[in-house]
């Protein structure tokens, strides 16, 4: 097992190897294959599509809200329905779209960027998708049956507690949290293992693509942040279902406990959403500027610093709750400090374009839109870090404007850019450039028309989460502008869907590397074969495809008749060992179904936790049933 010099493999030999690998790694066609696959590309693809479906659903809710708020004292939607709509909008966008879609892109891309044949823990990956799908479907069915959450995506107690939110609405919400967090944690673990142990030989930490760095930091943040919200939502369910008093001040509980736990998750959550996007921006910028990203070490440090700082700011969501002022000052400084790594990264991307030869294709346009938008959102974030100013604008439309600038500007713009950029890799087809430019400009104009006026609305006194306002408040004009902008965004989204649909009807002509990009994901076919790489790539620099031109070093020695991957050392990525990978299996789906039964059952009866554990345990036993040592019967390659 040694890195061999590039050599001209005979065409026949390669095609024989291709056939063997295809037999080993392929997903069988038909429904059975669809249900049992553990291929990270298939799972990742359906994850992405599902994420976009939730994006559209959340967007429709946004349009309904904008329609209601377009004029004062509108009677379009009643208070109860409106409260459910805004709760579902936030819940859908945060838990069912933003976090999952970033992880979904990573599930697809990370193994390819690492130059490996599969994601770590592929069955867990399939399980994660099914659990996510079940959680999202459950909450949306509940919503359509008028049992949707009504207390916001943040579900503050006591409003969300047993006394003020009777019925099952909040229970479904809290259980949806459990579903999506289980899914997110599973993916985070897979990504950490893949990035740390499955990188191509030679891809040291110092040569790792920035998207991998971003996903590594993000995944660690998921591991540390998500347990806090699972804990808080479990406390909530237990307060509601079995009469505990975690949040009940009359019995020694505290409503602020919820806020601390929720925001200890909720603030890092924002970075969990946009940090993968920062990685995407780096790749797009480098490719279309034909220059490696400027100041790579500083970019990495900025990502890591953001990851640490993100856990020290949660109290800036709670400045108005009357916590001690000295403590608040600490959170002011920490919140402001986050501007340093963010500002540094912005500089580095612009510098990369400045020194490179930028070609303004659609992905790079979205990066430009990202910079213009995200920086504004970051600056209003600095404003919100100040305790006195926050006391004025907290819970007003100023904050609504701020976090849409950060989240749409910081995550959705790059995400669209990333879809235009990696779509040929996913499907073998290029998206239409003209439609892409329309898509971008409509989105950009619609976004700013929608959200810029909200800054002003907040300053002139409009609080968040109100379903109506009185005519004499003089908020009507700005609200009407925002509503018009929202419909412009909708037109842009329709444009995007049409562009994708039209592209899928065209032949696969994109080729392996349509953008002449440098990452390993471009070193294999588009779409990649089931086994990702026919020979494992070996890496000697940060931009492998730019450095080596036509001849690329590869590595041999892995079985082609068994699913096998190469594990490498954490820092230097030196070959460590061969590791067997599981075959396609139905157990993850069955385990996910029994998990779903347990979770949904426990919304109604605490004993479901006990009875539901029985089928789940059976599934896990099936899942982990030893299949014996893999038969090493491979023929020599």
């Amino acid at each position: 097992m040694s890195a061999s010099r590039p050599r001209a493999a005979k065409a026949a030999e390669m095609s024989a190897l291709h056939e063997r690998l295809e037999r080993t790694w392929a997903t069988p066609p038909g429904l059975w294959g669809w249900l049992t696959t553990v291929d990270h590309k298939l799972v990742g693809r359906r994850y992405v599509v599902t994420g976009f479906v939730f994006f559209v659903l959340g967007g429709i809710l946004a349009l309904l809200m904008r329609a209601q708020l377009a004029r004062p004292e509108s009677g379009l939607i009643d208070a109860d329905r409106y409260n459910q709509i805004f709760s579902m909008h936030g819940t859908t966008m945060m838990f069912l779209f933003a976090v999952p879609i970033m992880e979904a892109m990573a599930v697809y891309l990370v193994p390819l960027m690492c130059g490996t044949r599969a994601i770590a823990f592929p069955r867990l990956n399939a399980f994660s998708y099914w659990v996510y799908l079940a959680g999202g479907t459950m909450i949306w069915i509940a919503f359509l049956l008028n049992v949707g959450p009504e207390t916001g995506w943040f579900s503050y107690v006591p409003l969300a507690g047993p006394e003020f939110s009777p019925g099952k609405r909040t229970d479904f919400w809290a259980q949806m949290i459990t579903f999506t967090e289980v899914a997110a944690l599973a993916v985070a673990v897979e990504l950490i293992a893949t990035i740390l142990k499955q990188r191509a030989p030679g891809m040291t930490l110092a040569r790792m693509p920035l998207f991998l760095w971003a996903m590594l930091v993000t995944s660690f943040m998921v591991v540390f942040a998500m347990p806090a919200v699972m804990l808080s939502s479990s406390f909530l369910i237990s307060d509601r279902l079995i009469g505990t008093h975690f949040y009940n001040p009359a019995e020694g509980g505290d409503p602020l406990l919820w806020q601390h736990l929720f925001w200890f998750f909720g603030h890092p959550e924002v970075y969990i959403i946009f940090m993968p996007a920062l990685g995407m921006v780096s790749h797009i910028t480098a490719t279309f500027s034909r220059r490696t990203v400027f100041a790579y070490p500083i970019m990495v440090l900025a990502l890591v610093a953001t990851g640490f700082l993100a856990f020290g700011l949660w109290v800036h969501h709670m400045f108005a709750t009357g916590l001690p002022r000295l403590g608040n000052s600490f959170y002011t400084s920490a919140s402001m400090m986050i501007a340093i790594p963010s500002g540094v990264q912005i500089f580095c991307w612009i510098a990369t374009m400045f020194d490179g030869k930028p070609r303004f294709a659609t992905p790079l346009l979205f990066v430009l839109g990202f910079i213009v938008t995200f920086v504004l959102g970051g600056l209003t974030g600095v404003m919100l870090a100040s305790v006195p100013l926050d006391l004025q604008v907290h819970d007003t439309y100023f904050v609504v404007a701020h976090f849409h600038y950060v989240l749409i500007g910081g995550a959705v713009f790059p995400l669209f850019g990333a879809v235009y950029y990696w779509f040929p890799k996913f499907t073998g087809r290029l998206l239409n450039e003209t439609a892409g430019k329309w898509n971008f400009w409509l989105f950009f104009a619609g976004f700013h028309l929608t959200f810029f006026p909200m800054h002003i609305l907040g300053l002139i006194g409009m609080p968040r989460r109100i379903y109506t306002y009185r005519a004499e408040m003089e908020w009507g004009g700005w609200n009407l502008a925002a509503t018009a902008g929202a419909f412009l965004i909708a037109v842009s989204a329709v444009m995007f869907v049409i562009n994708v649909a039209a592209a899928l009807r065209r032949p696969r002509t994109a080729g392996a590397n349509p953008w002449q990009a440098s990452g390993l994901e471009w070193a294999t076919g588009s779409p990649p074969p089931a086994y990702n790489f026919i020979y494992l790539p070996v890496v000697a620099g940060r931009e492998p495809l730019w450095e080596e031109g036509e001849t690329r070093p590869v590595m041999e020695g892995l079985s082609s008749s068994e699913r096998e991957i190469l594990c490498t050392s954490v820092v230097e990525a030196e070959p460590d060992m061969r590791h067997p990978m599981p075959d396609n299996t139905l157990w993850p789906l069955l385990a996910a179904l029994s998990t779903t039964a347990l979770f949904i059952g426990s919304v109604f009866n605490e004993w479901a936790l006990v009875w539901g554990a029985i089928p789940l345990t059976a599934c896990l036993i099936g899942w982990f049933w030893p299949v014996g040592t893999p038969r090493r019967k491979e023929a020599a390659a």
């Binding site: 402001m336 600095v382 100040s386 006391l391 004025q392 810029f452």
Partner: protein, 337 residues
């Protein structure tokens, strides 16, 4: 797009007058906070323009014709790498300096806000309920204290310390023209200090989502001259005036015997309910149902006849009254100036 943004900014700077605007300052605390806003706007505005300028320069430079060279895989090979590193260092220093200015500016104002509460001229206790505000003017001599609802009067130039509590869920007290907001949390006691600097009528609104009628949980804040304030206070201290006309007398009888008295209190009568707003001087207030309607006899009639139509979910039930009884109740309540 930028033109729209610029136009919006101009409008913003031209002043956002309004009864519920943080930009239309009528109190010392709001003024201090607006100072932070102005500082932030300038510093952040300059930083934003710098980013846009660098981006603009990059776009302008991208138009230069370039020979077809292989992509640059190693940043250090570019002649621009070193100067750009220097520029990056300068940029970081600029960010840090900007943040220091903002942080200290913010600290200083925060300290001023904290110190203001130390010497209060009057003490008020506000209790938030779904979805109205109980206002209790406190006084060392209990006979000088009184209860009202959904309307606060403050003497201009005096510092009021407002104690904030909640009985049900979390609410947030916010009168943007006078100062920032503070949450009212069950099981906790918070406070906020307001020092109005000019007379006028302002509006506050609950800023923490508190359920179905969060949108209709407002309060009127009237900043009076000292004389007007004392006159108002004297009126509030008095019990409700006795009915004069037969209609008013019938109204009082209905209020005391129908469901009204279960929840509402009218000082000086047998109506002693505590769960709804105090009505002792309801006709002297600017609005009813926590800002849902401007006060008028007609609005009161609409509210009593169909509270759920005006504020769906409000805890006030429909009380079936004959037309004559309703008229009597209206006659009576309208006399409670």
């Amino acid at each position: 797009m930028r033109r729209v943004a610029t136009a919006a900014l101009c409008l913003l700077l031209a002043g956002c007058a309004g009864v519920q605007s943080s930009m239309d300052v009528a109190g010392r605390q709001a003024g201090d906070i607006k100072g932070v806003w102005t500082l932030m706007l300038w510093v952040c505005g300059v930083m934003y323009l710098l980013v846009l300028a660098f981006l603009g320069w990059t776009l302008w430079r991208a138009r230069r014709p370039l020979a077809d060279a292989p992509p640059l895989a190693d940043s250090a090979l570019s002649p621009a790498d070193r100067p750009m590193q220097t520029a990056l260092g300068g940029w970081m220093v600029l960010i840090v300096v900007g943040l220091l200015v903002l942080t200290f500016g913010s600290f200083l104002v925060d300290r001023r806000l904290a110190e203001a509460g130390a010497r209060a001229d009057l003490n008020i206790r506000v209790t938030a309920n779904q979805w109205w505000w109980q206002v209790e003017y406190q006084h060392p001599d209990p006979s000088q204290g009184f209860l009202t609802a959904n309307e606060i009067h403050l003497p201009v130039g005096k510092t009021a310390k407002i104690e904030l509590v909640a009985t049900d869920v979390i609410h947030s007290f916010w009168v943007p023209n006078l100062g920032g907001k503070q949450d009212l949390i069950p099981g906790r006691v918070n406070d906020i200090t307001l020092t109005p600097t000019r007379t006028g009528r302002f509006r506050g609104q609950c800023a923490e989502f508190c359920g179905l009628q969060h949108s209709n949980m407002a309060l009127d804040v009237i900043v009076d001259s000292p004389a007007a304030y004392e006159a108002w206070r004297a009126r509030q201290l008095a019990s409700a005036p006795p009915p004069v006309t037969p209609g008013q007398a019938r109204g009082l009888a209905v209020v005391q015997t129908a469901a009204c008295a279960n929840c509402h209190q009218i000082q000086g009568t047998e109506a002693m309910g505590k769960t709804g707003p105090d009505l002792t001087h309801v006709a002297g207030r600017r609005s009813i149902a926590a800002g849902a309607l401007p006060y008028s006899r007609g609005a009161l009639a609409a509210w009593i006849a169909d509270p759920q139509g005006i504020k769906p979910g409000a805890h006030m039930p429909i009380v079936q009254l004959s037309p004559a009884d309703l008229n009597g109740v209206l006659d009576y309540l309208d006399s409670l100036k």
